[in-house]
Symmetry: C2
């Protein structure tokens, strides 16, 4: 448990109750069994495997999903660490008052329909919530948000998220987009320590969660999706002092984007100039989309610090190699000529009239012509070249189908892991995506297996090269 | 058949023999039945359904795949329109000589290992080929290339390509990359009239094929992958005079990229400055990757000319909408506020506390809460707004899985096609990609069905917005 965190009244570590509550009450749990199992929070907690006490609150029910229900939070006989309220918006102020009065530590307001609507009623309701929380020590997540995912705490806003814990903490002002990002990332094999979607942020905000993540020993990589901030100086200082990589998607920096932010989480987006300065001064890694964020995390979790920008490209398809080279230069990487010794070595394993080439970008077959041992040998030769800082290889699984190669998925997995283990330089892989379901399924599987062994796989040359270039910049800035 | 094309000796329309030969000989056909069926050209022609005469040439075989074989091209009793030679590189000059002497119209040299190797032997062999073709009227495709795909001519370098013809002509200096592009494009539902991979281009080059495509009545959209050119002025004039959209991937414009071009097809890449001027003066649409080329073709084949840059964004996920808005502005599109009347209309079909919004970007459910009729109605309202020039909607199929919606794929297809048919403005769709095999398969199917009905689907906000922005620029330039 990180030390030094105080709640509004000076009590320590309310964040412990955000991620590891021992008891949770759900205000507005449904007595309709099917509905509660499918989309209710009591159903989610039970299905995801929350180990603490659960109190369904419903004025008309005696029992919900086998648990004793209470007419109000005040009538729960024990203390309650954490409350999730899903009641309609006009009932939210009343339920929050009751939580404050009971001394609940944390309330997650799941309900939407507040300032983000831009309507007088929504804005007034949100102001009312703000006044209520200032009367007690209760801390609030939301409104208009998904809340918490913390596998080791047994808490998740989506029961299909992995129960396995990881080292990423994801702090998100968006809910639907946040869920999408977690699905994308976990599908690729990444794992989260914690994630939180905090919406309109009338109390706990991105900076609060960042402060926790910076000192949380379970967090080694931080991802932020931010629309707005109210305490920029504190945020800046936290980022600047953070020793862990921080990937930051700052949404709403365009003129219309800042308007969209107002109607999404009612935040002030801030000026592009200020945010660009922040990125420059803190070393936080800027990404533009959720998809880019995933690739950046794959790069950071699988690649060691790369000190310089000279890449050895290896893959099948001369034209694809030329395009890859152009992308590398656009993104600030170099594709140098190899040493003559390296070329001689490659010439020894590649037939001269096979359409292959011994120059960077290099073409070597992987299994297509039954020479996967050549492929691993070739990768090692390229990696050993003193002019090369790291190796990026690209593979098009549809080629294997084209040539009717059997067992290609296993062959590729083994070849890539073997290459990684025996190579002297950092190594990453691009799987060119296709329109074939079998190929798609095999790539998913290979990617996850590779990630376990520390081999990072990317879905396009473009995304891989961008992410690796930003990784190099990050480590160069850090070491300056 | 386009008129005005002359071969080296002034005979018309050799291009007819490139795409619609009546007889084909394969020099170097294998007598190993399995090998020839799997990777030989006689096997390909038979399996793809070539209707003309096929002459396998092999000095040791009497019969190949049921066809009478001949020891040499000279001993074929009839005239031969088209020859494919797959013999090892040192035998290519001899086979080309025989073709010239027989008066073959077109020879496709499939074999690699010439100037692209950068070796003395390879360069000398290629020079030898150049000398041979100047002794006769035979035209050459290659060497180091895949050759022709022309479904209506029964010709294909990959038997799995669709036999159905379309209106795209693809002219490609790369083979493996060219095959990848055709797989990507046809998997999305696009169809080709013709495609040619022409490699080192010792005779027929990109400009020759462009000239044909410009006047070919079956071609309505032209895609070029180019590494180098020798007759830039003619190429420029053709592009400038072309009334059809031309998408052009010029590879090798970076410093290292031009080196990679030399080792791929032994071309001169040319300077970035010259090519940028060409794009500006001809209106050809520049793309950087094969993936971008596919999205650009989807845009051109499904969207009418869009005159102005104001987009109505509709989709679920407020944060995703903010990110989409930022991307739009980066790519030169505007996301304007809607008229009050439009907002009033939307407010009538969207619940205030559902996390939806009536401002641009707009959130409306599609089927998730059982309201697909609202979705179509909402899209029509946004399209009817006088401040909006076109509508882009984004859908995340994983949301449907999350909520356990049954029959979502059919519901989406129907909803999108209905929306398209009843809307007053151009319309495009983004399917956010996920890591789920069922979702992937469903998206593939929906995309193809939508394309048939003229609804363009894109795999990411980024790719859709880039492609549409370039489409608008193209039509604006054309109409100036």
């Amino acid at each position: 448990m990180p030390v030094g965190e105080l709640d509004r009244e000076g009590n320590s570590s309310f964040m412990e109750d955000v991620f590891y509550p021992k008891s949770i009450a759900v205000i507005g749990a449904s007595s309709d069994r099917e509905k509660e199992m499918k989309s209710g929070w009591v159903g989610r907690l039970l299905q995801f495997g929350f180990k603490g006490r659960i109190y369904p609150i419903n004025p008309k029910a005696k029992e919900i999903l086998g648990l004793e229900a209470y007419p109000s939070i005040e009538e729960v006989p024990d203390s309650v660490d954490y409350v999730i309220t899903v009641v309609p918006r006009h009932l939210v102020p009343r339920s929050l008052e009751e939580c404050v009065s009971k001394g609940v530590r944390v309330v997650h307001i799941y309900t939407a329909g507040f300032s983000e609507t831009g309507t007088k009623e929504g804005i007034q309701l949100q102001e009312e919530l703000g006044k209520i929380i200032h009367t007690g020590k209760t801390r609030v997540i939301g409104p208009n948000c998904m809340g918490v995912y913390c596998p080791s705490g047994g808490l998740s806003f989506d029961i299909r998220f992995p129960k396995e814990s990881g080292s990423i903490t994801f702090i998100s002002q968006t809910g639907v987009g946040g869920r999408r990002l977690i699905n994308l990332a976990t599908g690729r094999g990444l794992r989260f320590s914690k994630a939180v979607s905090y919406g309109n942020a009338i109390d706990l905000n991105g900076t609060d969660f960042l402060e926790y993540a910076v000192s949380d020993p379970e967090t080694r990589l931080i991802l932020l999706y931010l629309e707005g901030l109210t305490d920029g100086r504190r945020f800046f200082n936290l980022l600047r002092g953070c020793k862990k990589p921080v990937v930051l998607l700052k949404a709403g920096l365009s003129e219309s984007g800042s308007g969209a932010v107002a109607s999404h989480t009612a935040s002030l987006a801030g000026s592009r100039r200020v945010w660009e300065a922040l990125f420059k001064q803190t070393g936080a890694i800027s990404v533009d989309t959720l998809e880019e964020a995933v690739e950046q995390m794959v790069a950071l979790q699988t690649l060691p610090p790369i000190k310089s920008r000279r890449v050895g490209l290896v893959g099948r398809g001369g034209g694809i190699g030329v395009v890859a080279t152009d992308i590398c230069e656009r993104e600030g990487l170099k594709v140098p000529q190899l040493e003559q010794e390296t070329k001689n070595g490659l010439a020894g394993i590649i037939a001269a009239d096979s359409g292959s080439t011994i120059r960077n970008p290099v073409e070597i077959g992987l299994g297509i012509t039954g020479v996967s041992e050549h492929y691993v040998a070739g990768l090692k030769m390229v990696a050993a070249d003193p002019k090369i800082d790291f190796v990026l290889t690209f593979l098009n699984p549809e080629d294997y189908l084209h040539y009717g190669v059997k067992g290609w998925a296993e062959d590729i997995s083994k070849g890539l892991v073997k290459a990684k283990k025996t190579m002297s330089k950092p190594f990453a892989v691009v799987f060119l995506q296709g329109q074939n379901v079998d190929v798609f399924q095999s790539i998913l599987q290979i990617q996850r297996e590779c990630l376990k062994e520390g081999v990072g796989c990317f879905p396009s040359l473009d995304s891989a090269i961008k992410a690796i270039s930003k990784l190099i910049t990050y480590y160069q800035n850090r070491d300056e």
